[in-house]
């Protein structure tokens, strides 16, 4: 009798293992994907999803060994623009031939970035990421007399005019107002205007625009028109809330932030809710793009069909993308959806401005060919030497030489001249 019960129980357990829905494991480096998963769950309630958040600065350190060893792999993982190209040829990303029809209306540049050398699409993105300059209307009215985006853009539509505006703000506010909060904000702007990416073949290239960035950043610091904060640090966020103070306790007014599309719903809105309505957006001194996230299915996933369904939903499902765009203001990658909603968009956080149409226009001129898989790592090294140069610890030549030496040390196979 006991034996029979044991056998029946064992059979039931075995059956339940096979019948239970397999969990879909999704890895990402920010909690943004977590929010998007809620939309997926609404549309597909029977799917169980486990979302794993690994912070961006250690994301690659965790993802690479897992993919290499095949142990504990996710079914779906996201990759950021700063390193997505390093994985496109790796074979870990499933090919999305079956999704090419649904991706027909996806922005071309988002597909080009993740198409491998044989022409196979390996990932999809739900967003386009042109960059802009978000400024505070109240500070504009106080010191510049107007908060109209058209007039403000005319005041800063070249790098030289941008610096002049900084000087004007500083003078009119007796040193209290600064043009940008952190010099890191400038970095993304100059980075995307380059002709060449960091690496071509096996050659390491320092585009002249990066040298110009070093000089510009130093002049910003010397003129006192930057807020001296570090990006993503407490002081950077405090400036958004209007609560930034310098070390002697005097308040510092940060006029604006150079942020891209996702900066609005991922950075400004959650961190400065009390200033809603006091912001506006203009293109800024140089057209640029910043970041972007791509979703890929793991090639050897046991759940591949479900994973591909997930990727398709995130990258191409028009209903989801339209909902996501309306809820967050994110510029989605589906051109049909963008054209549909850009006419009537009104963003309360930006005082009713229709930023969507502006972004849709800007997205057309993004050149993502300069992205490489080396970006995240090389740029960390670059920013360290940039700090050294800006704070006057090194000359420009020494900073660039040390930068090249550090890159050569990390990547001995690259030619660094």
């Amino acid at each position: 009798m006991k034996k029979m019960i044991a056998v029946v129980l064992a059979a039931l357990c075995a059956a339940s293992v096979f019948a239970a829905p397999r969990k879909l494991v999704v890895w990402s480096f920010t909690d943004e994907m977590g929010k998007m998963i809620e939309y997926y769950k609404k549309a597909n309630p029977e799917v169980q999803i486990e979302f794993v958040l690994v912070p961006n600065d250690v994301y690659q350190s965790k993802l690479k060994p897992v993919l290499q060893s095949g142990q504990g792999t996710p079914d779906v993982f996201t990759l950021e623009a700063a390193y997505v190209k390093g994985y496109v040829e790796s074979g870990f990303m499933a090919d999305l031939k079956s999704l090419s029809k649904s991706a027909a209306n996806t922005m071309q540049y988002t597909k080009d970035v993740v198409t491998d050398e044989k022409g196979v699409l390996r990932a999809l993105s739900w967003q386009g990421t042109p960059g802009a300059y978000f400024y505070r209307r109240s500070i504009a009215k106080k010191y510049l007399g107007t908060d109209d985006p058209v007039k403000i853009q005319a005041m800063l539509n070249t790098p030289e005019k941008f610096v002049e505006l900084g000087k004007t703000l500083k003078a009119k506010s007796n040193g209290q107002a600064v043009l940008i909060s952190s010099l890191g904000d400038l970095f993304q702007v100059y980075k995307s205007g380059r002709k060449d990416g960091w690496v071509k073949g096996k050659r390491f290239i320092v585009d002249p625009l990066m040298v110009k960035l070093l000089e510009q950043a130093k002049s910003f610091r010397d003129l006192g028109i930057d807020g001296r904060q570090q990006q993503w640090a407490e002081g950077w966020f405090a400036g958004m809330k209007g609560q930034l103070k310098d070390e002697s306790g005097k308040p510092v007014e940060v006029f604006g932030y150079l942020l891209p599309t996702w900066g609005l719903h991922y950075v400004l809105k959650p961190n400065a809710p009390d200033t809603s309505g006091d912001w506006a957006m203009v293109q800024g001194p140089i057209p640029y793009f910043w970041g972007g996230t791509w979703v890929a299915a793991y090639d050897k996933s046991p759940n591949k069909a479900e994973a591909l369904k997930f990727v398709e939903f995130m990258g191409t499902n028009e209903k989801f993308l339209e909902e996501w765009a309306k809820d967050t203001g994110d510029l989605v990658s589906n051109t049909k959806v963008v054209d549909k909603i850009k006419g009537s968009y009104s963003e309360a956080f930006l005082g009713g401005q229709n930023h969507y149409a502006a972004f849709a226009e800007m997205a057309k001129s993004i050149n993502a060919k300069i992205l490489t898989g080396y970006d995240q790592d090389v740029e960390t090294i670059f920013q360290e030497q940039m700090e050294n140069y800006i704070t006057g610890k090194k000359s420009l030549e020494a900073a660039i030489a040390d930068f090249k030496a550090a890159v050569k040390n990390q990547y001995p196979d690259l030619t660094v001249r």
């Binding site: 060994p65 002081g235 790592d377 360290e384 030497q385 704070t391 090194k394 990547y411 001995p412």
Partner: protein, 391 residues
């Protein structure tokens, strides 16, 4: 020694069973990885691929050549450049000069030189010309400026931490064990001094990073608002300050532990020595320098060697305090941080990181032997062995 018989012999065997679990786990989880890391140091394992080949001592000492061959026609030069990349994945460039184009080939490893010679033979370039155009660049661990700088950082930070640590720990230990002072607060203060050792290093790193943040961290605000300074100090932009902060954290976290060991060591000294000295009229200074210190030599040796090994392996604080790259400008990039960056970030040079680990092991071993030789207790060797059989 007589063979034990009977029950004693049977019980002897049980000892092996008791140590077997530890031995097995050590072999699997510690010894095998150590040996495998050593093995990896002789390969070229890196990046996302799982294939690698043996490369001998290349990670330790290598000569890589840049080759410069003048006198090419423009089309030929570019054809060679393309061929070199397509067939051998070697980077090359063609530069216009006074007499035609110069072919520049970069990063040619010794084992690839033969293949390059074969390729260039098609263009009538003989081995002599290639040899004349070689520009050798020494590389590998021995010539790695970053490794030696990291090792130097280990020493600088450790000595800044060790000297105050020994002095203060010894001082406190002597005060707590002094027979005439009879400090009552010992039972309260000893755990308090030991407490920083128990703290989570990640939390400590975040704490100190926030405290010294520029421009508006608490310390800077205090300095500005109390008018001691007019401008914030950018602590983490200065090599001196950052190293000092790391050394202070290490000192603060470990002086309690050192103090406890010294207390144990001093307690092991027979009080009759001190009583005899007191009767003979010795003062505190004489008792300390003539009795306590010499008899603490074995303890001090232990402290010195373990602290030095720990100093060479310093990782968590330097890694977490600034930007996880040992900046500002590599001033707190200690050797373990360097190993971590080589292995687990950027290009994932696992083989080179293994070679660096092995190099660090050798250096630490040599230093430990040196310290032992210098400070070991030579008095035992000089005593005369008693005659007669050992029982």
């Amino acid at each position: 020694m007589r063979r034990k018989k009977g029950i004693a012999a049977r019980y002897d065997r049980y000892g092996y069973f008791f140590i077997a679990p530890f031995a097995l786990i050590f072999l699997m989880l510690q010894l095998f990885p150590i040996l495998y890391t050593l093995f990896l140091g002789f390969t070229d394992y890196k990046g996302l691929s799982t294939n690698f080949s043996m490369v001998g001592l290349e990670n330790f000492y290598s000569v890589v050549n840049d080759v410069s061959i003048p006198g090419f026609a423009e089309d030929d030069a570019w054809a060679v450049v393309d061929q070199l990349y397509d067939e051998l994945r070697i980077d090359a460039d063609a530069e216009e000069g006074d007499e035609g184009f110069t072919l520049l080939i970069f990063n040619v490893k010794k084992r690839n030189l033969a293949a390059v010679e074969t390729l260039l033979a098609d263009y009538d370039i003989d081995a002599e010309t290639i040899k004349a155009g070689l520009n050798p660049i020494k590389g590998g661990l021995l010539y790695d400026t970053f490794f030696w700088k990291a090792f130097r950082n280990n020493w600088i930070i450790w000595s800044m931490n060790f000297v105050p640590q020994i002095v203060i720990a010894l001082l406190i230990a002597v005060l707590f064990t002094d027979l005439r002072l009879k400090l009552k607060a010992g039972s309260l203060l000893k755990p308090l001094f030991y407490l920083p050792n128990v703290l989570n290093t990640a939390s400590v790193a975040v704490l100190f990073a926030t405290l010294f943040y520029w421009p508006v961290g608490p310390i800077n605000q205090f300095l500005s608002q109390s008018h001691l300074l007019s401008e914030s100090i950018n602590f983490y932009r200065s090599a001196g300050w950052t190293r000092g902060i790391v050394a202070f954290i290490q000192f603060w976290m470990w002086y309690g532990s050192t103090m406890i060991i010294f207390i144990a060591g001093i307690s092991g000294i027979s009080p009759s020595l001190y009583e005899a000295a007191y009767v003979d009229g010795a003062n505190f200074k004489q008792m300390f320098f003539r009795i306590t210190l010499p008899l603490l030599k074995p303890v001090a040796l232990y402290i010195m060697v373990t602290s030095m090994i720990g100093g060479m392996q310093m990782f968590d604080i330097p890694y977490l305090l600034t930007n996880r790259r040992g900046d500002p400008d590599g001033s707190i990039m200690t050797t373990p941080v360097y190993i971590y960056i080589q292995a687990f970030t950027n290009a994932n040079n696992y083989s080179y990181a293994s070679a660096v680990s092995f190099g660090l092991f050798l250096l630490t071993l040599l230093l430990s032997i040196f310290v032992f030789a210098l400070l070991r207790d030579t008095s035992e060797i000089k005593t005369v062995k008693p005659r007669g059989k050992m029982l």
